[in-house]
Symmetry: C2
Subunit: 320 residues, 2 copies
């Protein structure tokens, strides 16, 4: 659910006056994304997504996010294209927020992705990494190892409320990350949140990637490890090596991994699972309950961590 | 906010197989309506609204609601048109609910309607009354006087929690309704919930009426009185007689009121305000609080009741 800010017809008309997208036909708040307020607009010029940035997004980061989407779209990546105003700007003020308009992508995100979808995601992720290589913007990953440590310091004491023993258990992951986290690997702009709800398909063909609001500079293979976590575990938290192999093969068909990247996959996957466990744990402990707020269970990532802890080689993920 | 039930791509594809609307391009849960779960679909055949009926709607009433929409659309009323399946049915099962597909109407609902909008609503309401006159279905108004009394019996004891003295104050409205409620007036199918969020405009031209899920048989003038409450009070709860006059003139340009209907307007408007106050009061007292649940304040209708109590003639609403 995500319409935190309603938009009136008068203020919207004034906002849209700055754009050349034809007359407004309709707008509906949509229940997608968890960070911002999103509206689907129909205008005489087509369909668009209007996003009002809420408190979790730093507006100083918007030129990076929107500039990246424009850069990638110009290089053939199927992603929302920011619509520029007549004055050239990519954002404007609306309802007390900073807002942007991007093109609407048709497509459906897969609640139950199959092996073919996993392969397509691998191909798309590698294509995104190559297309972003010459992007001029730079944004450090706020949710890299030091960020995890801050989240952990703010959650550790209460971690056992989620499951007894969780605090001590997760300490072993921090120890592993401290000992084995790679110092140098090929890197550049990564998506950093390429979960199934951010990837659209028409049938088994990938039709678009959305939600670049965690994009940042980090290791490419870390992005790939996040996709292993996001796409290749079944609902019972078992790792599906056939999906892993498809994802990795799809990726390598566009951008082959170096030996160092391949060797680092187990620790990167463990670190990535730790990262998503930590943000969920923090939200779980700090956001009040409500009938329409569906907090995501940190245990889903503890279950993944338990898998990664016993992995010994990248072949365990299906790397060939 | 209203997506109570998520729909997976597999079950949606199976549901849509029964329709002839072309391939599915996208679907988004939309934050409109408060009773049901609604999705905006793009298909190769156009745009549609998919509704999953939640617990407040009796599925036995759906043939009335959907049949009425089909009947009205066939008579030129701009309302969503139910899409029939290949087997002729207007509903099917989806995600554990009964679901229906209707055509999408372009248009924008007015957070701040002006006088011209009020006139258009009057014209559209009268046109709806005429177009529905030969509809074969019949559904008693569950929220008529006996229904109000049930709501009141379940809320009265705690009414003073909302405002001290509210319980005694509202008793006077029940006394007035008991003494003056009309026994006979022209009637037929009414919309019964024609609030601004159920009426779409393109500019100042009305483009559609939606949400027929309170439609029932009752006095036509009661429907008009509900529109006076819904459209002609300002944000400070003052009655805007210019808007009232425009609404009533628009209505009478299509269907002139009888003397009995005109004389009954004050008690009908008071009763209608009582009805919306009571459902809001009941929800206010019984639905738990939550960060994304915006319960509607019953006092907004107590303020309207206070206006209606001191009205003496229909001219006070702008009737000419």
């Amino acid at each position: 659910m995500a319409v935190y800010t309603d938009v009136g017809e008068g203020e919207l008309a004034a906002f849209l006056d700055a754009y050349e997208i034809g007359g407004l036909l309709s707008y509906k708040g949509i229940a997608e994304g968890t960070e911002n307020s999103n509206f689907l607009l129909h205008t005489e010029g087509g369909s668009f997504i209007l996003t009002l940035y809420e408190k979790r997004v730093e507006t100083s980061d918007l030129p990076f996010f929107l500039g990246l989407m424009e850069h990638l779209a110009a290089r053939g990546i199927a992603c929302p294209q920011p619509v520029r105003r007549r004055d050239g700007a990519m954002t404007g003020p609306l309802a007390g927020r900073t807002a942007a308009l991007v093109t609407f992508l048709e497509g459906i995100w897969m609640r139950r992705p199959n092996v073919a979808h996993c392969r397509e995601v691998g191909v798309a992720l590698a294509s995104l990494h190559l297309a972003g290589a010459d992007f001029a913007g730079h944004r450090p990953n706020a949710l890299a190892v030091p960020g995890w440590q801050t989240l952990w310091e703010n959650s550790r004491e209460r971690a056992d409320e989620v499951e007894p023993g969780l605090g001590a258990e997760v300490e072993s992951d921090f120890a592993a990350v401290a000992a084995h986290w790679p110092k140098e690997l090929p890197g550049g702009v990564i998506h950093a949140d390429l979960f199934p709800d951010n990837v659209f398909f028409l049938g088994e063909k990938l039709s678009g990637l959305i939600d670049f609001y965690f994009a940042c500079n980090d290791f490419y293979a870390y992005d790939l490890a996040t996709c292993l976590n996001a796409w290749c575990f079944e609902k019972d938290f078992s790792f599906n090596i056939t999906k892993g192999a498809a994802l990795l093969a799809g990726y390598q068909s566009v951008r082959p991994l170096s030996t160092a990247e391949a060797q680092a996959l187990p620790i990167l996957a463990r670190g990535s699972a730790l990262r998503f466990m930590l943000t969920r744990l923090y939200d779980w402990l700090t956001i009040p309950d409500g009938p329409l707020v569906k907090k995501r269970d940190p245990m889903e990532y503890v279950r993944r961590l338990r898998f990664h802890r016993q992995v010994s080689t990248p072949a365990d993920y299906g790397l060939q």
